[in-house]
Structures are given as C-alpha cells and as structure tokens.
C-alpha cells in the first residue's frame, strides 16, 4: 500500500493522528494516548484494480471471479478502500466508573488499495 505524501493522486493511506489530550478525552480514556484515524484517499485507475498484495480484499476476489467467468464488469469503478485493518486495545472508564479494557477489531487502517 502507498502512503500519501502529496506527490501523486493515487490511492494511498493518509495518516491522521488524534491526541486525546488535545480533544479533552484523556480524562476517560486511560490508554492509548491517541488514535490513528487513518483513512484512504486517491484515485484508482484501471491498472491498479485488483493488484495482488495491494488490494487483496473480499471485493477484489469477487471482481476477479466475475473476470474469470468472462463477465468482466468493465463499467465497474474501482474504489480506494482499506485493505488491511488492525485491532486497537483501549483502556477507559465507562458511565459507571468501571475501568474497561476492550480490544476493538478493525479500528485502524493499516493499508489501502484499489478494489
């Protein structure tokens, strides 16, 4: 997956970090101290769609199945989507002042690709 660096407009991962202190959430979120709210942006030209490794998503698998059957969805646009997500462990207080530890799946976008 590409990292967005402003040099081109291809599908890439834009990093976006939010410090919980700066938004005043550090009083109830104990850990971590911030969140990587990364997102995907950019264009997906035809040659980038379904590139193995960069977009090994379920969507890509479906499109490839159509292609193998000679039903290529030529008119289908390719999307810049998260292709790899990771879990984020959080330690925080809930409404009842319990300390809660939760592993939240698919919370952080690690990689983007075209599908």
């Amino acid at each position: 997956g590409l990292e967005c660096d402003g040099s081109n407009s291809l599908c890439c991962r834009q990093q976006f970090y939010i410090d919980f202190r700066l938004i005043g959430w550090n009083d109830w979120i104990i850990a971590p101290s911030g969140y990587f709210g990364n997102y995907c942006e950019g264009n997906c030209p035809a040659y980038m769609a379904g590139v193995p490794g960069s977009a090994s998503s379920f969507h890509t698998a479906v499109v490839n199945q159509y292609r193998m059957r000679g039903m290529s969805p030529g008119s289908m646009n390719s999307c810049c989507i998260p292709t790899k997500l990771s879990t984020m462990s959080m330690l925080y207080f809930d409404d009842e002042y319990n300390i809660v530890k939760r592993d939240v799946p698919n919370m952080i976008v690690e990689e983007c690709g075209c599908a």
Partner: protein, 242 residues
C-alpha cells in the same frame, strides 16, 4: 474520482486541504464512541483515585478480567479504603433481596447473607445494587434527572430506622447504581446475625419519572442484590462460596 452515480459507498474520502477540520474530527469521535458502544463520552465528574487505577492495571496484567472485559474497582465513589485488597484474598457473597409480611412498607426489603459454618467474617466491602428505571414520561423532561436515594436500616415490626447511606444519583438512562453498605453488613456479622433489613427511599423519583426497582415478581432481572466481599477474620482462609 468516480461520478456520484457510479461510486461505491466504501470509496475513500476525496482529497481535502484540511483533513483535521471540525467535521472530520467529530466523525472520528463518533466512530470511536460507536465502536465502544457508547452514545456519549462518559461524564467524569471527579478524579479517579490513583490507587484504583493501579489496582485495575494490576488486575489487567494478572489477567483477572471478567468475561465482558471489565475490571471491577471497589467503591470508586469516595470510599477507597479497600483498593489494596487483591482479588484472591477475598471472596464474594451475593444475596438477592426478599420481602415478607413483617415488612410494612413497600419500600422495605431484606437480605439473608449466607454464612455457612458461622465463621468470624470480616467484611472488606459491601455494596447494594439497585436498578432505576426511567419511565417514558421522564425522557420528555430533559436529559438530567438528579434524585436523592436514602437507604435505611430498619428493625422489623418496631419501626425504628436509621440512615445508612444517602447518595445523589444522576440518571441519564435506566441502569444499576451501587450504594456502599460495608459498615452495616459488618455490624450484622459481628452481631452473629444473618439478616439485613433495609428501607429504600428516593426523593425526587416520582417527580422525575424514575422508579427504583425493589422486590417485584414481574421484574426479576432487576431484583436488588447485595454483594459482600469477605474473608475469615482469624485465619484468613478463603470462603469458597457465592
């Protein structure tokens, strides 16, 4: 960028000059809250004792989590005397509320706290759990409903009672609230008794459309209960029962 008619819902965001703008930040905040299954951020009105945090983190590292991932912190509402107690040194006795004809008031209930073997128990912590239900009419009266709950110890038949705990409760939705009763339960044990008679009064509940659920056969899942953490006072053996 695909045209609107052919774009898919999962397409990435269009490139913007200022991704850290207010709307984006709000969207990320909402995303975090929704993933944590919360509507709003919790309202932390008083600082959390560091001892409580340390205890919780120790439990986390020791793997002493409940199935839902929560770590139980004793008495965070200002009674932090037992934070040093490790879980393996105490055991839990849970008793559900009962009522009978000797209790004259509808707000009266009692607990039979099992003490098999009549051991000399030391109560390290006891909390009464009460469920407060918001009536539909309460939802129309604004978002904050503050009521005062008083829990009395009551002598059955005699009618004399004294205040054990008084707590101001801020209700945003229906839910459980705890009331510390450590000293009262310890007194019951020290007298060799097993029965704890209580009378629960709520000031402002009726006006605010709030109903404290007491013993009600139609609402068993919200029956009040008492959680007692205790250990044998003389030899500190664990009491293996619930």
């Amino acid at each position: 960028t695909p045209s609107t008619s052919t774009s898919c819902a999962s397409c990435g965001l269009p490139k913007t000059d200022g991704p850290a703008d207010g709307d984006f930040l709000e969207a990320v905040k909402r995303h975090i809250l929704s993933r944590l299954q919360m509507r709003d951020r919790p309202n932390i009105t008083h600082p959390i004792p560091k001892a409580a945090m340390v205890t919780a983190l120790k439990k986390l590292h020791a793997g002493k989590l409940r199935e839902d991932g929560r770590v139980e912190i004793p008495n965070l509402d200002g009674h932090a005397a037992y934070m040093h107690e490790l879980e393996e040194e105490t055991s839990e006795i849970i008793s559900f509320a009962e009522t009978d004809d000797s209790l004259t008031s509808k707000t009266s209930l009692f607990f039979i706290i099992s003490n098999e073997g009549n051991q000399n128990l030391h109560v390290s912590q006891a909390n009464l759990w009460l469920y407060f239900k918001l009536l539909p009419s309460a939802l129309e009266k604004g978002s904050r409903r503050k009521v005062t709950v008083k829990v009395y110890s009551q002598e059955p038949g005699v009618g004399s009672k004294w205040n054990l705990v008084e707590k101001r409760v801020d209700l945003k939705r229906s839910g459980w609230h705890t009331f510390p009763l450590t000293d009262a339960v310890q007194m019951v044990f020290s007298q060799g008794d097993r029965r704890q008679n209580l009378d629960v009064r709520c000031e402002g509940c009726e006006k605010m459309g709030v109903v404290p659920i007491l013993v009600n056969s139609a609402d068993e899942s919200h029956r009040p209960f008492l959680v007692v953490q205790a250990r044998v006072a003389d030899n500190k053996h664990r009491i293996r029962k619930r």
